[in-house]
């Protein structure tokens, strides 16, 4: 079970309370996590990355295990502790853009 933490403005938009927990079939990558997230919450489409899996929006960042994964290829595997649900995958509004 993947744990995903969203910024407040996106939790409000998609009517989400707390963390999102996603079951991923196959490789756990940033792309597969975002695909699953958007499938469950269609209102998030276009607000984190471009439609149809497009590039990350400029002022959205992806963190996990105290690392910035924003510039990593979207199909790279996420850390095992994220895939195992021990550590969350953080979607963050950058300190800019508002």
């Amino acid at each position: 079970m993947i744990r995903v933490v969203l910024p407040a403005h996106l939790r409000t938009l998609a009517s989400i309370n707390g963390e999102v927990r996603l079951q991923i079939t196959g490789p756990v990558t940033q792309r597969s996590v975002l695909d699953a997230l958007e499938a469950r919450y269609p209102a998030l489409r276009g607000t984190i990355r471009g439609h149809d899996g497009g590039p990350r929006r400029a002022f959205i960042r992806f963190f996990a295990c105290e690392q910035d994964l924003s510039h990593n290829p979207p199909d790279d595997p996420l850390p095992d502790v994220v895939a195992a649900g021990t550590e969350p995958y953080l979607i963050v509004g950058a300190m800019a853009g508002g």
């Binding site: 403005h9 489409r45 959205i60 509004g93 508002g98």
Partner: protein
Amino acid sequence: MSGVRVLAGTRKGAFVLTSDGSRKQWKVSGPYFSGWEVYHVKGSPADPGRLYASQSSGWSGQVIQRSDDGGATWAPVGNQFAYQGTPGTHQWYDGTPHPWEFARVWHLEPSLDDPDVVYAGVEDAGLFRSVDGGQSWQELPKLRGHESGPSWQPGAGGMCLHTILLDPVQQGRMFAAISAAGAFRSDDAGQTWRPINHGLQSEGIPDPDAEVGHCVHRLAMHPSRPDVLFMQKHWDVMRSDNGGESWREISGNLPTDFGFPIDVHAHEPETVYVVPITSDAEHFPPEGKLRVYRSRTGGDDWEPLTKGLPQENCYVNVLRDAMAVDTLDSCGIYFGTTGGQVYVSPDSGDSWEPIVRDLPAVLSVEVQTLP
């Protein structure tokens, strides 16, 4: 007793302001979409319960919200605005070609007769339409694809399609305005477009009477007389009596003819309202006095309306989509300011009261007259 519902979009959310027909006591609800810029909220003329809102942010881009119950509840609908075909380029500020890039929806114009049909004017300038209540959006590409498109340049606020007027008499005729390209008209429901800028003079462009390139800030019409159009241009207040075929200046005795909004009285097609602003550099009222100007003669002769408006130390702006009129017997006039005030005049502008004083900067004001 009938009432009104004022829809205010602000820099940090939307607000719904309601009153009965007296327009004295107001209920304020919101903020909706707190923290997001709300460029525009507008109700369907065919179904007053159906509202559309444009919500955007630097973090997460564009969202369109829809309400089916007059703003009590909202749900996000489609937010994919994809230009049709290869978008091509327009001119950038430095004169170089710049790819068309969607930034946000400035204006939402619901159809006059179908609540599921709504038009969206966007930045970079383009016109989109939804026929399914905002779930999906398709571009009407011939406007952006006009042969002059590659020469269009953004104004200071971005290259936005900010005005959409639907002709209630001639079916399929519609008008659009773009900063800084000018005014355009379609006679076939948006399938084809042509510029309608003959008579405009803009000193800020190399050819002052060019076919395109004018920074039109706003168009307005009275629904009973759609051949008569009023325009607040960057500088100059203009009028057309032939559906935009030609324009003449009606700035007359205004203290300055720079400004953003323009609107028409609901029952008097020759009564027009503007808010003069000092200049393109000084986006505040002349002398620090917030004055709406009214012409009862269709232009040229203007009177200041000041009762209830601050007449000293006022340095707010009134943006292009931030003025509206209701259709009650005693026509109400509304406008919002960048200082967060929304003012109402229940007597056609003779006197004014603030509905609210301390909202975030107001980007847009619309009003619905409720049965």
